[in-house]
Symmetry: C2
Subunit: 225 residues, 2 copies
Amino acid sequence: MSNDVKKRLDNPPYLQLAIDIPDLPTVQELLSSLSETSSQRLLLEIGTPLIKNEGLKNAVPVFRHYFPKSYLIADLKTLDVGKLEVSLGAKTGVDACVVSGLAPLPTIKGFIEECQKLALDTWIDTLGTNLETFKPKLLLLDSLPDVIIVHRGIDEEIAGKESVYESISEIKSNLEKLVAIAGGLNLKNVHLAKDHGADIFIIGRAIYQSKNPQKSLDQFLSIIL
Amino acid sequence: MSNDVKKRLDNPPYLQLAIDIPDLPTVQELLSSLSETSSQRLLLEIGTPLIKNEGLKNAVPVFRHYFPKSYLIADLKTLDVGKLEVSLGAKTGVDACVVSGLAPLPTIKGFIEECQKLALDTWIDTLGTNLETFKPKLLLLDSLPDVIIVHRGIDEEIAGKESVYESISEIKSNLEKLVAIAGGLNLKNVHLAKDHGADIFIIGRAIYQSKNPQKSLDQFLSIIL
């Protein structure tokens, strides 16, 4: 992919559909049912369990088939061999790869450098970090990631960890980067994330586990736009 | 898999071949060339980049084909949805799954519970953690992982982070668990890990990138046994 055709996230807000369904036939059915959604505000995430179960090589082409022009994010949650993992994502034609904010600094550096070399966006996931240690770590990087994901994990969410909306405005006031929010967003609370200034709203089960995913997706879009 | 047939790591030391090659045909060639290695001291790891590129569903059966009776470890480096990721590994018939020591506590708990339920061993990878914060975190768990991996990442290794041999004896003196060591082991330094009491020696590129992987594997086995 050359820089000329690189998709840019220059018109937030966006709704990101995160697909953590591990089984590709089920994913295929879902994508097929949503493929008439032409909104340029819709980003699609190949979720970690899907990547681990089916492999990037097999999962990404299915996303590309149903959404040929959409911005695709590979949620690799990379912890080691940053350069290698980015190269695997790039080969499949995704637009962005996600590194874990918990990864050692050399991994994050290698990850960002390889993304830049291959004209991919770098996303960093704050899952499991705390802002006090994460922010100084970010400042050790020569260049910052393009998107910072404020994220409460599904397991943390179930265990009752409090929400993270406050972190959005804190990060935005310090760093001129896009901020995405993930973890437990639903039709009732998504406005809180909007009020705190999120640029990208990452939503998974609240859309694909609903009775009518297309309708839920449209409802979320109408709230965040 | 029932408890009756569960493979047990009750006779250390072991040599673990970690295959981080992302491409399945290359892995297949390697496994085929090594498949006459009948040592019960050999464990096989499906490495993270291989899992992410090809998928557990596709990679594990290839390992099982060439090593029908061997102990197989899925290096998932799980950071979220612990229960789900273990179930994906279990479906493919691996003997153990690896959770990241950086994962939030609820994720590690869910991961261990699911491993126990499905009669898999739990391994935890200390990559990116420091012992001072990691040990108290372990003690918050109802039950400990079966194996603790002392690990310097490949990216950290290249960046010159010092070795971690000292951590082996420190962990062993505190917890009665098996300790595996990973990261930069080669024929010149593996005796240091042995001297510090490692139970499992995780070696990747020093075997599969050597001119004669079978010969290298045999050399490592003869040193650690």
